[in-house]
């Protein structure tokens, strides 16, 4: 079963062959490394850029203007914050020209904690990014969605931000990606570790890959339930699913939604679920002040104040300047399984 890193690679390969993807670039994205998470290994259009995030985003905008579809990588989202103005520029270009220009381009960047990344390899980017108008923003939590969302990004005519939960890059999923061989993928598309073997290596891409897409803006129910709605994405999503499984043994039936798209997001799916469960917990790992989950809470109370039988809650990262390196610090700074279990229990306990 493909990992997220492999799913990205296959989607980009499919894009190169079928969707006019012309440039995959960023720091260490090309040979020899193929990306710090191997997500761009073996791709024919991948190349190494200068160490310059502002140049990378600027180049992506220009390539889009020239009609050349590209995927630009920022090595870690922790290093994207010197280019927020350029992300805003990409997001306002169609609007400020009253529809003259559109920018079909994708930026991808790893986000989140989970690898003991300390201050600068643990950042989340959902809060700031959802505050920037004009983009579509996705974040998968399993390989199949990774593939499908990335294909959708490559087909999209507006700027798309593809956030990769870095803690899960090498995790396999439960489902095959359409066209993925049932076994042996690693031997086909992973560059050998052995130096000699790696030298003239060429990937053997699965020939049956398709344009399987996950529509941007569509979430997914990953656990059905009637007692509480839990909405999450990225690294914390599987933890929410696990928490639901664990609590089901206590008779608590949590409905878990994988949002997948942060903008636009699947409000219809959330609404239906809240109307059923009458309470909601939003979970993400960005710092909790001016957090995207707070937007979702605002909308929840805007529309469902009188349908709620408990206050809607947010479980997010502590409002501190970074995630500390030590295991003890990381665990205490961003939501873990036990925090999610506790939070669900506490919302349910507060239901009237």
């Amino acid at each position: 079963m493909a990992t997220i890193a492999q799913a990205i690679r296959m989607a980009l390969h499919y894009g190169e062959e079928n969707l006019q993807l012309a440039h995959v670039f960023g720091e260490d994205v090309g040979l020899p490394l193929g990306g710090v998470f191997t997500a761009t290994q073996g791709l024919k259009t991948a190349w190494n850029s200068p160490l310059d995030e502002r140049g990378i985003i600027g180049a992506a905008i220009g390539l889009a203007m020239a009609g050349k579809r590209c995927v630009a990588e920022i090595q870690f989202c922790d290093y994207i914050f010197n280019a927020i103005d350029l992300l805003k520029l990409a997001g306002n270009t169609c609007w400020s020209t009253n529809g003259d220009w559109n920018l079909p381009m994708t930026v991808m960047t790893p986000v989140g904690s989970g690898i003991r990344g300390s201050l600068y390899h643990s950042h989340s980017f959902d809060a700031m990014m959802t505050h920037i108008p004009g983009w579509k923003i996705v974040i998968p939590s399993n390989p199949k969605d990774t593939y499908g969302l990335l294909i959708s990004c490559l087909k999209e005519l507006n700027p798309t931000m593809f956030l990769m939960p870095k803690a899960m890059m090498y995790l396999g999923g439960d489902e095959l990606i359409p066209g993925e061989p049932a076994s042996g993928l690693k031997a086909l598309i992973d560059k050998p570790v052995d130096k000699a073997a790696a030298e003239n290596w060429q990937p053997q891409w699965p020939p049956e890959l398709t344009d399987y897409s996950v529509e941007i803006g569509k979430g997914k129910i990953v656990r059905e339930g009637t007692d509480i709605t839990v909405v999450s994405y990225g690294r914390t999503l599987p933890l929410c699913a696990k928490a639901a499984d664990q609590l089901s043994q206590e008779g608590i039936k949590a409905e878990v939604i994988d949002l997948r798209s942060l903008w636009p997001y699947d409000w219809e799916l959330i609404s239906k679920s809240i109307l059923k469960t009458q309470c909601v917990l939003y979970v993400n790992e960005d710092t909790e002040v001016t957090n995207f989950g707070e937007h979702l809470i605002r909308r929840t109370v805007d529309e469902f104040f009188y349908n709620l039988s408990a206050p809607p809650k947010l479980l997010a990262g502590a409002f501190i300047p970074g995630v500390g390196l030590a295991h003890s610090l990381e665990m205490a700074s961003v939501p873990q399984l036990n925090n999610i279990v506790e939070a669900i229990r506490s919302v349910i306990a507060s239901k009237v």
Binding site: R54, G55, G58, L63, D85, T93, S96, T97, G99
Partner: protein, 327 residues
């Protein structure tokens, strides 16, 4: 140095007058409360018109891409932009094709001619230009990427990024990198901020060809642009061209939009030469001036009657072809 033939000189002069009067019309509109803010390029015509005339105009990779500063009306005028549209933008008319009344004067966007939207943030155009230049490097042909901006803005790291990306070994970009040096950034004198003798010298370390010219001289400008463009079009490598220009009406309407007699005005300079060469008479110049003045005044009157943007349109085009509130 090539000398410019008489017909071209006269054409340049004609466009310079027209462009100057357009800018003066826009300033007048500001002073008459027919617009909230003016910024533009009076004083840069002797460089900008020759540049615009030599652009390979069209849509797509075979043509030049332009990533311009907010003082570039002369370039677009020489390319054939309708002055009416500049006036519409000044008046934030709903019919303004550059921004639909959303953006400031001088912030043009013309996708049909590869003119990237002009942005208020200084220097980001030097980054965006990298992208079209990469596409043109791959594409080949003779289309190039042209980017310009002011002197003060080169202090932003983005200017350096442009030089870095344009000069990567074996990946050089076909890019004409221009700095229009008027020796001011709003109220700040270049003398107090620049340790460089010439800004263009910054290209040397990167092996980028450079030149510094008097942008107030039409002949010098035309020839330098021609040579630089020829180099970039054929060698597919970057060229950094610094043009000394004037800022005739101060920074913008925020600084009053008043004529500054201490700045050299390229227009009478050229006119003196044309008269001396018997190419034009003082009367003919006056007639030309009066003609354009009247034309532009009429356009401005007409724009006054155009509708303002519909408040319900604020969400339109947040995304490509999207209309109305989308969430």
């Amino acid at each position: 140095m090539t000398t410019v033939d008489s017909a071209t000189l006269l054409k340049i002069h004609d466009l310079m007058v027209k462009n100057r009067l357009l800018e003066e019309r826009l300033i007048t509109m500001f002073k008459q409360n027919q617009g909230f803010f003016w910024i533009g390029g009076p004083g840069e015509e002797a460089f900008n018109i020759p540049l615009g005339l030599q652009v390979k105009k069209g849509h797509g990779l075979d043509y030049d891409y332009l990533h311009l500063h907010y003082r570039s009306s002369g370039i677009l005028m020489a390319m054939g932009m309708d002055p009416m549209d500049a006036i519409r933008q000044m008046k934030n008319s709903a019919l303004d094709p550059h921004s639909g009344g959303r953006n400031f004067a001088g912030h043009f966007s013309m996708r049909k001619w590869n003119v990237a939207p002009i942005t208020s943030p200084i220097e980001v155009q030097y980054l965006v230009a990298i992208g079209t230049a990469i596409a043109q490097r791959d594409h080949g042909g003779t289309g190039i990427t042209i980017v310009n901006g002011g002197d003060a803005g080169t202090a932003e790291g983005d200017f350096a990024s442009c030089l870095v990306w344009a000069s990567r070994p074996k990946q050089e970009l076909p890019m004409l990198i221009i700095v229009t040096n008027n020796e001011w950034g709003i109220s700040t004198s270049a003398k107090t901020q620049h340790g460089e003798k010439h800004i263009a010298d910054r290209g040397n370390a990167f092996g980028i060809k450079t030149q510094v010219i008097n942008g107030n001289d039409v002949n010098e400008s035309f020839a330098a642009i021609q040579e630089a463009m020829h180099y970039v079009r054929t060698q597919r490598k970057p060229f950094l061209l610094e043009a000394k220009v004037s800022r005739l009406y101060g920074h913008s309407s925020a600084s009053g939009g008043m004529f500054n007699p201490n700045e050299e005005d390229p227009l009478p300079l050229l006119q003196k030469k044309l008269i001396a060469a018997n190419l034009l008479s003082a009367e003919a110049i006056e007639t030309l001036r009066a003609k354009y003045e009247e034309e532009l005044r009429l356009l401005a009157d007409q724009v006054k009657t155009e509708p303002q943007p519909d408040p319900h349109s604020i969400y339109d085009f947040t995304y490509w072809q999207q209309q109305g509130k989308y969430w």
